[in-house]
C-alpha cells in the first residue's frame, strides 16, 4: 500500500531507518537461538515483554522459540509504569497490562524483552516489579536495540543491534502490530524543552 510509504505519524522527516523488517526478523531469530543455547534448551524460560513494543517482541520471540524447541513457551507482559523513578516528574500515565503466565515466575528463567535499552531505568523498574511478583531462578534481558548512555549498572544479555548514538538523537522502534510496519528509525531530537529521555 502507498500509505505505508508515507512517513508515519511521529516520525521525523530527517529520521533514517537503521533496521528494516527483514533485519528485525533475522535478529529475533538469532536472539531465540542464543536463548536456547544459553538456557540449555529453554525448558524453564518465561518471556515477559515490557509494554508497549516489548510485548510484541516477546510474542515474536516466543513463536521462534516454539519453532526451535517445539514446546509451548510461556509469554506475558510486565507494566513498569508504577515502578518508574520519574513518576513525580510527569502527569500519571495510563497503565498498561501486566499479564503473568499461569504458572508464575518462581524458580523460572525470566527473560525481559524490550525494544530499546537506553538509560537502564526502565529495566531497573522492571526488576523492582518482578520482585513483587515472585522469585525467578534468574533474570535476563533481551533488547532489539542498545543505544548506549546507561545511567545504571545494567546490561543486556541479548542484543539485536548495538547502535552508538548521541544524546541529541532519537531511536524509534516501529512494529507492525502497533505501527503498521517494522522499522527502527534514527533521528534528531527536536529542541523541545522539558522533553524526557
Amino acid at each position: 500500500m502507498d500509505k505505508q510509504l508515507d512517513a508515519p505519524p511521529g516520525a521525523r522527516s530527517d529520521a533514517r531507518p537503521v533496521l528494516e523488517g527483514p533485519d528485525i526478523a533475522r535478529v529475533l531469530t538469532r536472539i531465540a537461538h542464543e536463548i536456547v543455547e544459553r538456557a540449555k534448551g529453554a525448558d524453564d524460560v518465561v518471556l515477559l515483554g515490557i509494554p508497549t513494543r516489548g510485548v510484541f517482541l516477546a510474542r515474536r520471540l516466543a513463536d521462534k522459540l516454539e519453532q526451535i524447541t517445539e514446546r509451548k513457551i510461556p509469554v506475558g507482559s510486565l507494566d513498569i509504569t508504577m515502578y518508574r523513578d520519574d513518576l513525580r516528574m510527569h502527569p500519571p500515565r495510563a497503565l498498561a497490562r501486566t499479564d503473568i503466565p499461569g504458572d508464575g515466575i518462581d524458580g523460572r528463567l525470566v527473560v525481559l524483552v524490550d525494544d530499546v535499552l537506553f538509560s537502564g531505568r526502565t529495566i531497573r523498574a522492571a526488576l523492582d516489579a518482578l520482585n513483587d511478583i515472585g522469585r525467578p531462578r534468574a533474570v535476563q534481558l533481551a533488547v532489539l536495540v542498545d543505544r548506549g548512555h546507561r545511567e545504571l549498572p545494567i546490561r543486556a544479555d541479548y542484543v539485536g543491534k548495538n547502535l552508538p548514538t548521541s544524546l541529541r538523537e532519537t531511536v524509534k522502534v516501529q512494529l507492525a502490530e502497533e505501527d503498521g510496519r517494522d522499522t527502527v528509525l534514527l533521528g534528531a531530537k527536536p529542541a523541545a524543552p522539558g522533553a524526557h529521555p
Binding site: 502527569p91 500519571p92 495510563a94 497503565l95 501486566t98
Partner: protein, 326 residues
C-alpha cells in the same frame, strides 16, 4: 482531570474511562503475592472522617496502603472537632504536618468543595461522601462493576456504558450515591431511571439528566442493572411513607420481581443493606447481586483515583495520551 475529585459531575467521559481502565489494572494487583505497589511512596494521605463510615474509610485505607502511601486516619469522634475546632482549623493543622491529599467524609453537603476552593489548604481533596451531595468514588465503583458485568472485563477496556439502562430505586432525596450515579452514568452514556415514591424525590429532579418513575414493576423489565438504595427506618417517622411494609411491597426487590428482570441484568446495592426493607435475603444472596463485588471493586477504583491524582507531578491528562518514548 482536575486537581480534586469533588463531584462525579466534574469528570469528563475520558476521565471516567481512564479511571475505570486504570482500576482494571489495579484489580490485578490483588491477585499477586505482594499486593503492593511503590507508586505513592513518600506521599501522605489523611483520611479525614467527620462522619462514621467504617466501610468507606477502610476501602480508602486499603487503596492508599496498596500504593505505599503513608496513611493518617483522623476521625471526628474523640478529637478536637468535638471540642468545637472548625473544619478549617482541622484541615490546616493536618496540612501543617505535610499532607499531600485529604480524603474527606463530612455530614455537610459542600464541605469538600469548601476545603478545596476556599484557599485553606493546598493538598488534593478527594470527596469520600458529603451530606446528601456527592460520593464520586462510589459512583465510579458502581460504574466499574456495571462495565465488568454488562460489557466485560477485558472487552470493556476503553469503553463506556453507552445505551445501558440503569435503574436506581429508593431514597433519592437523601442520597449522595444517587446524585453521583446520575451524573457519572449520564456522562458514560447510560440511560438512567430513578424509581421512588414522590416523597423521596427532590423537588427539582426534573432538571436531572434521567427519567423518573413511581412504578418499579414497569421499569424492571427494561433494566440492565437495578441499584437499590438504603432506606433509613427513621424516614418513616417523617412521613415519607406510611409503613415499612408498604414501602417494601411497592419499592422493595424480592425474588418475584427479580425474575421479571432480563436474564443478564444485575442487582446492585451500595450497602449497608436493610434486608427485608428494600431487598429480600433471597435477592441479596443471589448470583445476580453484586454487593460483595462492589466492595472489592471499591479498592481498585480508589487506587486508580489516588494514582491518577497523586501519582505524578500533576493530575493525569486525559485529552491526549503522552507518546511513548524511552
Amino acid at each position: 482531570m482536575q486537581r480534586h475529585l469533588i463531584s462525579a459531575a466534574d469528570l469528563t467521559r475520558d476521565d471516567a474511562v481512564l479511571i475505570l481502565d486504570t482500576a482494571e489494572e489495579m484489580a490485578r494487583v490483588a491477585d499477586r503475592p505482594i499486593k503492593k505497589l511503590p507508586t505513592l511512596r513518600g506521599r501522605t494521605v489523611v483520611n479525614l472522617f467527620f462522619e462514621d463510615s467504617t466501610r468507606t474509610r477502610i476501602s480508602f485505607e486499603a487503596a492508599e496502603k496498596r500504593l505505599s502511601a503513608d496513611v493518617i486516619n483522623f476521625t471526628a469522634k474523640g478529637s478536637s472537632v468535638s471540642k468545637g475546632e472548625s473544619l478549617k482549623d482541622t484541615a490546616q493543622t493536618l496540612e501543617a504536618m505535610g499532607v499531600d491529599a485529604v480524603v474527606i467524609r463530612h455530614g455537610a453537603s459542600g464541605a469538600p468543595y469548601r476545603l478545596a476552593t476556599s484557599g485553606w489548604i493546598d493538598a488534593h481533596v478527594i470527596n469520600a461522601g458529603d451530606g446528601t451531595h456527592q460520593h464520586p468514588t462510589q459512583a465510579l465503583l458502581d460504574a466499574f462493576t456495571m462495565r465488568r458485568r454488562l460489557v466485560g472485563r477485558d472487552a470493556g477496556l476503553g469503553k463506556d456504558l453507552d445505551g445501558r439502562r440503569i435503574t436506581l430505586v429508593g431514597d433519592i432525596l437523601h442520597s449522595r450515591v444517587a446524585r453521583s450515579n446520575v451524573d457519572l452514568l449520564h456522562t458514560l452514556g447510560a440511560e438512567v431511571t430513578l424509581v421512588a415514591p414522590p416523597t423521596l424525590l427532590p423537588v427539582g429532579v426534573e432538571s436531572w439528566p434521567c427519567e423518573v418513575s413511581y412504578d418499579l414493576d414497569s421499569t424492571l423489565t427494561k433494566s440492565d442493572a437495578v441499584m437499590l438504595l438504603r432506606v433509613q427506618r427513621e424516614r418513616m417517622n417523617a412521613a415519607f411513607f406510611p409503613t415499612e411494609r408498604e414501602y417494601s411491597r411497592r419499592y422493595g426487590l424480592d425474588g418475584d420481581r427479580m425474575s421479571k428482570m432480563p436474564d443478564h441484568a444485575i442487582v446492585m446495592h451500595p450497602g449497608p443493606m436493610v434486608r427485608g426493607m428494600e431487598i429480600t435475603a433471597e435477592v441479596a444472596d443471589s448470583d445476580r447481586c453484586t454487593v460483595v463485588e462492589q466492595v472489592t471493586n471499591g479498592v481498585s477504583v480508589r487506587m486508580a483515583v489516588l494514582y491518577l491524582l497523586l501519582g505524578g507531578n500533576e493530575p493525569a491528562v486525559t485529552h491526549a495520551r503522552p507518546t511513548e518514548e524511552k
